[in-house]
């Protein structure tokens, strides 16, 4: 119980410290502005593309963004094309039931959150070890509780940032797209915010795992960026080459990367979603544990 209590205290301190040092504010602002800018750009581009399309077809332009897309979204021809692009008919049909802005938000969150996580979370342990401030805390708690508390604290901060950015994306849609399906869009955007968070937990694990290897936040961030690139490369190569026979071995490397599991998050059905929601945090904790194996033996 003591260990768990210490873990909770470290988590709370990590969150409070993030707000005190304005890191949390910066993180939340970064996500909020990123989300607002990206969604605004999406609505603007959508409106422009729709206007061009309507003009080319010799029709009367829609006064709002999303009108043509809605018609396109419901057309059989477009659905057929999307099925061909995705290669999975069921997934294509399921995605078509989701508002375009939510899909865009999901794509932005799933694509850019890992990079931001690596940049923001990697220095957390390394800088405290580097400045030796960790020693004061480690008199009162175990290394495991301290590192896990950091992990949990970073995760909570990221959850807040992603949920707020999801709400911001919804507000952009509400203001810029008058025929916006408010309730459906809000639930879809929030669900992608949560999925992006689960996906990012794997990268928080990677960031803090690497952070335990170095005393320098800069070196740790550099290593984490290289590791992230390697993992992405491994996932892409394994995903491309895996198949029957000896290529089955690539299934293992593929599934050991966050990217190898992120497609599960796009599926709205539980059969795909639940394993993804479990395995991604587990992978994060695995990366984190590998770093902790070295950290637990280090002379601080």
């Amino acid at each position: 119980m003591r260990v768990f209590l210490q873990f909770l205290i470290v988590t709370r301190h990590e969150i409070v410290d993030a707000f005190r040092s304005k890191r949390a504010i910066t993180l939340i602002l970064l996500y909020l502005l990123g989300s607002i800018a990206a969604c605004n750009l999406f609505v603007y581009s959508l409106h422009r593309i729709e206007d061009e399309l309507v003009e080319a077809m010799g029709l009367v332009p829609y006064g709002e963004a999303g009108g043509v897309t809605r018609a396109l979204w419901n057309s059989d021809h477009f659905r057929h094309m999307l099925t061909g692009l995705i290669g999975d008919r069921e997934l294509a049909v399921q995605l078509l039931s989701i508002p375009p802005l939510a899909i865009f938000f999901g794509w932005v969150a799933l694509s850019f959150t890992p990079l931001l996580v690596i940049l923001m979370s990697t220095p957390r342990i390394a800088e405290e070890v580097g400045t030796s401030s960790a020693r004061f805390v480690l008199f009162r708690t175990t290394r495991g509780s301290w590192c896990c508390g950091k992990f949990a604290g970073q995760s909570v901060l990221l959850l807040a940032a992603l949920l707020l950015s999801a709400v911001a994306a919804w507000v952009v849609g509400l203001i810029r797209m008058p025929s916006f399906d408010q309730v459906h869009s809000l639930t879809a955007i929030l669900s992608y915010g949560l999925k992006a968070w689960v996906y990012a937990i794997a990268y928080i694990g990677l960031a803090l795992g690497v952070s335990q290897l170095s005393r320098s936040p800069v070196i740790a961030t550099g290593i984490a960026l290289v590791m992230m690139t390697i993992l992405t490369g491994v996932a892409t190569a394994s995903g491309h080459w895996r198949g029957p026979g000896w290529f089955r071995i690539l299934d293992i490397t593929y599934l050991l990367t966050p990217r190898g599991n992120h497609m599960a998050l796009w599926h709205p059905d539980f059969a795909h979603l639940v394993p993804g929601l479990i395995i991604l945090p587990a992978l994060g904790f695995l990366y984190f544990s590998v770093g902790h194996v070295f950290f637990s033996r280090r002379d601080l």
Partner: protein
């Protein structure tokens, strides 16, 4: 109160590692099945594309329309010598699409193929004869079912029989005409194939028109979506195509 003591990093790490390994190993067998199924689907799609007769003026495209089963696939005709050639040919003669589906269904389709497909592919004439034998019975069943569904009177039943007979005569005459043209080499085979298909479909469309005139007004709704005139084509009408396999072999 002792429980939290075991919650150490080591235990947590091992638990998560076990979860990840279990996830990978647990998915190993289902993924093998998926790879096998993907391969099977690719084969089926390839086969389906080959068999699709939409605008394909080759012999297989024409015979598909005329209820004549395809020549057995040379790759799958590796018989074990103990197979029952008659029964396999008969099964295939029921309906080409049906035959292809049954070939691919089940746990060991290749083994089934090996057991059912004869050593030597039958001649075109033999395939038509075998198809015609079963067609008689199949067509009778389809006819009775159709006439019952549309509540046809005696007079309408008679008219339907005449229309089907007329359709088969028209088809036979069309095929005879084009077989003669192909034999003379006066028209390129592709063009002749396309023209033949056009006339065959014309004969079918004409029969549909006549059915609209002769049958009760709601016959098409009552007959259901499954009704198709192709079921009533006597495979024997394709007999003049025998000997033209090489001429019309370009798919």
């Amino acid at each position: 109160m002792r429980l939290p003591k075991i919650v150490t990093m080591k235990i947590l790490g091992i638990a998560v590692l076990t979860l990840v390994v279990g996830y990978i190993l647990g998915g190993w067998a289902p993924r093998s099945d998926i790879y096998a199924l993907e391969k099977k689907i690719a084969q089926l799609e390839h086969k389906f594309e080959e068999r699709a007769y939409g605008g394909n003026p080759s012999l297989s495209g024409i015979t598909q329309m005329l209820n004549v089963p395809d020549k057995p696939d040379p790759q799958s005709s590796r018989g074990d010598g103990e197979s029952d050639a008659e029964s396999s040919a008969d099964e295939g003669a029921i309906e080409p699409s049906e035959a292809s589906t049954t070939e691919e269904e089940g746990e060991e389709p290749e083994a089934e193929n090996e057991a059912e497909v004869p050593d030597e592919p039958e001649s075109f004439e033999k395939r038509i004869e075998q198809a015609a034998e079963l067609w008689g019975m199949r067509s009778d069943i389809a006819r009775n079912s159709f006439l019952t569904n549309i509540n046809a009177t005696e007079e309408e039943s008679g008219r339907f029989d005449i229309l089907v007979e007329a359709m088969n005569i028209r088809l036979e005459s069309t095929i005879e005409k084009w077989a003669a043209t192909l034999n003379k080499d006066s028209v390129p085979a592709r063009e002749a194939g396309l023209r033949m298909m056009n006339e065959i479909t014309d004969a079918l469309v004409l029969t549909y028109d006549e059915l609209n005139r002769s049958m009760p007004p709601s016959w098409s709704d009552d007959a259901g979506n499954e009704f198709q005139l192709v079921d009533y084509i006597d495979p024997l009408v394709a007999m003049p195509l025998a000997g033209l396999e090489d001429t019309l072999q370009f798919d």
